[in-house]
């Protein structure tokens, strides 16, 4: 299978009054064509920043983003324009990401018009209606405005807009977090069908481990700007190695009374990503701690078994 997207040592720092904020600090991952990488972590871990840097909606501080083998961070304006047709994003909040003064038809047709993808009115009409049909929006909704629709339908508009230019890669940035579970399930199933039908590649960002497990082929767990563990979804959930992953998995409330597990309750809060100290980012909350090395040296992101990567001193020795 060919690699669609490869990220090498990707960094994004923000300058703040109090110092340099390391939002994304040296990420490495690959996504194969037609697969989904789930990026999971808590607020402030840098998952949304990663999604934006990968699309150059934010400029990276360092590293490479290879899309079909070429580093898009070197792209000039013309090449970027071509790339943007290929790589799209669906945003978290279907209330804020749609222009309230544009009708459904206008929102979905805008990318087609800007990129001159329709030669006539009839063709535009046909393309928009076929997109609406693809995402399950009834034709009668074409002249309605976002405020008239519920969250699920609004998110369908966001998906149709992302699909308009026939992309091969989509960043899904918490696309179902604002939705109720019954609607969330509809949208997740829709994304799954579209992926199979159109052979799409997804970078799926979410804080919800249940959703991540459901949609992903591979899962990367982020903590304070770094990926601490990455593996295929079955391995990650069955055999988590990093203490943070273990704690995260044990903290999810599971609606199943027979599901027994050891609960790990982490102490404290996520520390500030501004001027982070050397050593393991998780050191302050870790319940294992393997001595001075954890505090002084950044753990390497190492492959422990084929395809299973962990950044933890303790896990490497074991």
């Amino acid at each position: 299978m060919s690699v669609m997207l490869e990220v090498k040592d990707l960094k994004k720092y923000f300058k703040t009054k109090r110092g340099s904020l390391h939002a994304v600090d040296g990420l490495n991952f690959k996504i194969n064509q037609g697969e989904t990488l789930g990026l999971v972590g808590e607020s402030g871990c840098g998952k949304s920043t990663t999604g934006r840097v990968v699309l150059r909606l934010l400029e990276a501080t360092g590293g490479e983003v290879l899309f079909e083998g070429k580093n898009i961070l070197d792209y000039k304006k013309q090449e970027m324009r071509k790339f943007r047709e290929n790589a799209q994003i669906v945003f978290q909040d279907p209330f804020a990401s749609l222009n309230p003064r544009m009708s459904v038809f206008e929102i979905i047709s805008e990318p087609l018009i800007i990129n001159k993808k329709a030669e006539s009115k009839e063709e535009l009409n046909k393309k928009v209606l076929s997109l609406m049909d693809m995402v399950g929006l009834a034709e009668r909704l074409r002249s309605t405005y976002p405020h008239e629709l519920d969250g699920g339908r609004r998110q369908r508009i966001g998906i149709a807009r992302a699909l308009a230019l026939n992309p091969s890669f989509i960043v899904q940035d918490e696309p179902v977090s604002a939705l109720d579970v019954s609607i969330q399930a509809q949208i997740l199933n829709l994304m799954d069908e579209l992926q199979k039908e159109l052979k799409l590649t997804y970078l799926f960002i979410s804080h919800d481990l249940g959703v991540i497990k459901h949609v992903s082929d591979n899962v990367a767990v982020m903590y304070l700007g770094k990926i601490v563990e990455m593996a295929d979804y079955k391995t990650l959930f069955a055999d988590p190695r990093h203490p943070y992953t273990k704690a995260l998995l044990s903290a999810i409330p599971v609606p199943n009374l027979d599901y027994q597990r050891e609960r790990i309750i982490l102490e404290g809060d996520v520390p500030s990503p501004i001027n982070p100290p050397p050593g393991c980012r998780f050191y302050g909350r870790c319940f294992v701690k393997h001595g001075d090395v954890c505090q002084n040296m950044d753990p390497e992101f190492k492959e422990v078994t084929p395809g299973h990567f962990v950044a933890c001193h303790g896990c490497h020795n074991a």
């Binding site: 808590e42 607020s43 519920d150 699920g152 339908r153 109720d180 579970v181 019954s182 609607i183 969330q184 399930a185 509809q186 997740l188 199933n189 804080h207 919800d208 481990l209 249940g210 959703v211 497990k213 459901h214 979804y233 079955k234 959930f237 704690a247 995260l248 998995l249 044990s250 903290a251 999810i252 409330p253 599971v254 609606p255 199943n256 009374l257 599901y259 609960r263 309750i265 982490l266 102490e267 809060d269 996520v270």
Partner: protein
Amino acid sequence: MATANHLLEVNDLTIHFLLEDGVVKAVNDLSFTLNAGETIGIVGETGAGKTTTALGLMRLVQSPPGLVVKGEINFEGQNLLDLSENDMRKVRGNKISMIFQDPMTSLNPVMPVRDQIAEVILLHQNMSAKEAIVKAEEMLNLVGIRKERSKEYPHQFSGGMRQRVGIAIALACNPTLLIADEPTTALDVTIQAQVLELMKQLKQDLNTSMIMITHDLGIVADICDKVAIMYAGTVVELADKVDLFKNPKHPYTVGLFGSIPDITNDDDELKPIKGAMPDPTDLPSGCPFRTRCDHVRDACAAFNMQKTDVGNGHYVKCILFEGKGV
């Protein structure tokens, strides 16, 4: 079913909002009981009427436009709806208190957290200001916030810590009933686990009864004894937790379980509920769920939402079970 020793017994509580666009029937014929030390989960999606229920029980529904159409809220043998506003004020924050969803907006930003706790104590208990401060610091200690931080303001705390302050305020007067309205929804999962653990511990230590309002069945599995499932203002199913999880009856409850990704299964398939929530000012006649239900039949439009006891205090409001009760 109604015995005298329930701590709380709600009968047919109905709350409407009279708006220009029409009447929103936010809560309809809500009935449940709660014993001392018990926790009931009220589960539903946006617009189900969960928060209106909580505010209604505290008599905090703004009127107008809100109106308690009928019902009884018997708390410790007394109907709260009969109390004068003055007497009700003595109950609120004292015997019944509430934890709100958003710890960022429910605290006073210009008051040190210690003073916010002391305020409740001064209001309800016969204590001097000094004693109240000492008690406030004890409460902070109880929820895991060090005394050194007690003079800090809400913005100096993280979300999880702020919610702990909210819990400390709610528990300051040793309430017999605690209403928690989505207390962990704004929190990250590891912080949520901390707060839920704390609430479980405190509930056990203080024998407080709790109404847990949530959209998350995982939290219900973790912390509740019984569950009420709400849809469009109506409790469609009410049962003991084990009964409800092992043997859900109402098509909506079944649909909810089918919609949640199951992390205990590697290849689960989602079976969503079709359609979307109906417009609250224009609910379908009969069963409000019939527009989304896979088992819908003509008679559903005229169904009077009568509840059926399918055994062991497990109530369902659905035509499929009509006449099949015990």
